[in-house]
Symmetry: C2
């Protein structure tokens, strides 16, 4: 039997998964992300916990195919990280460092791209090889897989779908510094922004007026037939459906896998995204499927392990 490790480095915890080569998750655990000394101990801690696991289970190094690593920041194909603000990391080669610490093959990728690969391997994108994953969380993350491989891009910024420009004349500023990015309208915070703006516009009655606004409260109200909430959902769908139609014209995927906290609303999201997608997508790209992500927070460890498979 041969084994894989998938490691998802986050700002608070590092998630680790131990897999067989068929993608069965045999064990998973977390360690805290030690951010002191500019995150200089993180990879040491990862190496130590992997070595412990191997010793504890009496697994020989040569039975391990390798360790895949997802990092919250841009990573190029050679494993160079340029900056991972959440970890305190500057510029260095994570592949070389972890591989030297472990004596095992290592590959690394941006966490959103790696999660996309995970959804393709064992999640909402199984059976496809050209896939776009969109994570609607605090921000909008994206990951693109073409012919089964992560689209990294020339500076590690491939698949940065959240920063597609969708609105001229926006006055607020996106986390990235631009104005009018998709993330400002289609993330959980973006949906709340749309809702607050709509509610301020007039006094039309809405159940949204009674409680704190969130993406969840908006889609709960949509399900209850609230007209104002439906208007907000349509705006969300216009932005996201058009942006994904444009992504489709560029990379022509087989499937969009939609994940993140906003997806707890369920398939009702597609009622607002898909008609707009269909209207604006180039005819040969229109057949792309939409599915919900299924791996949740485990997408990163699955995808990281999957990086070691070819």
């Amino acid at each position: 039997m041969r084994y894989l490790f998938g490691v998802d480095v986050g700002g608070t915890t590092v998630k680790l998964g131990f897999f067989d080569a068929d993608g069965n998750l045999l064990d998973k655990w977390e360690i805290p992300t030690r951010k002191e000394d500019n995150g200089g101990h993180i990879l040491e801690d990862v190496a130590a916990t992997i070595k412990e696991k191997l010793t504890r289970d009496s697994i020989a190094l040569q039975d391990v195919v390798g360790v895949g690593l997802g990092v919250p920041g841009p990573v190029d194909d050679a494993g160079m990280v340029y900056k991972a603000v959440n970890l305190g990391w500057g510029e260095f080669n994570v592949v070389k460092m972890l591989s030297d610490l472990l004596g095992l093959p290592v590959r690394a990728g941006n966490d959103a791209n790696v999660a996309a690969l995970g959804e393709m391997w064992k999640g909402g994108g199984q059976g496809y090889k050209d896939l776009v994953a969109v994570t609607l969380g605090t921000g909008v993350g994206g990951g693109i897989i073409l012919n089964g491989k992560i689209l990294t891009g020339s500076t590690g910024a491939g698949g940065e779908i959240g920063h597609i420009h969708v609105q001229d004349g926006e006055e607020e500023v996106c986390g990235c510094g631009n104005q009018g990015c998709l993330e400002m309208y289609a993330s959980a915070t973006g949906i709340a922004r749309l809702a607050n703006r709509r509610l301020e516009k007039d006094d039309k009655p809405s159940m949204l007026r009674d409680k704190p606004i969130s993406a969840k409260s908006v889609f709960d109200a949509v399900k209850a037939g609230d007209e104002v909430a439906i208007e907000i959902a349509k705006q969300f769908g216009d932005y996201l459906g058009t942006a994904l139609a444009n992504v489709a014209a560029v990379v022509n995927p087989e499937v969009f896998v939609i994940g993140g906290g906003v997806c707890k609303a369920g398939e009702i999201l597609f009622d607002y995204i898909c008609p707009v997608f269909t209207r604006n997508a180039f005819h040969r790209c229109r057949g792309a499927k939409f599915s919900l992500a299924t791996l949740g927070n485990d997408a990163g460890i699955y995808g990281a392990a999957a990086m070691m498979l070819d």
Copy 2:
């Protein structure tokens, strides 16, 4: 010495190039595109003219690496053409057919994608491996190269940049059947559309009022300082610069290579495209270079030959 053939099948003529493996164009010629019988003789004619060339120059079959083929329509990675309206072609495998006729390895791609590869190999994109080519002609064509390979897409529609949706509420219809595609504003005909709409809006004096409108007359007027023409060029730049910023957020290229008839205007195009690109591009994608295509109508034969190189 080993040789390559590059074949660019167009609606009127088939262009052929004979190259050495370093990419030196040793000979080029054209044959008419015989469209009768649903284009059923086109590949026979291609095979015949290649065989004649080999006989005439006493070149052995084993000294030919292969034949690359650019086709005006979607082609998948296996060589299946789904429809090439201009040729009368329906669904069949062009790679298999031409390879059977010649006894040589054959690869095929969509003509716009193949031309992008040509510009990377020997044109405006030399030295890069992540490239987006944009052809501003009667329509807007696009071709994307990532890690030196054509991005084909799941249905052969990768890089269909001309059909990015850039304008809601458009009343005219694009050739593709949608409304508000980039092609409607950034092609030669699109620029003329913008110009006619602007001129109809009021009576502001402009040298554009004296003559037939074309992309050329608009950019000639821009160079002469005509204010109305400059407004039109700004609109063109807003549409194209934003669309390319969005392409950059998806595939994160090193360079955009801009070609097609509109490019005869020269580097002045960049004065209108680049500031908008810079404003709307995600910060890590903002460093993409812009260059003009240099191979003109030969991009297709270069790119077709280059397909045989890896």
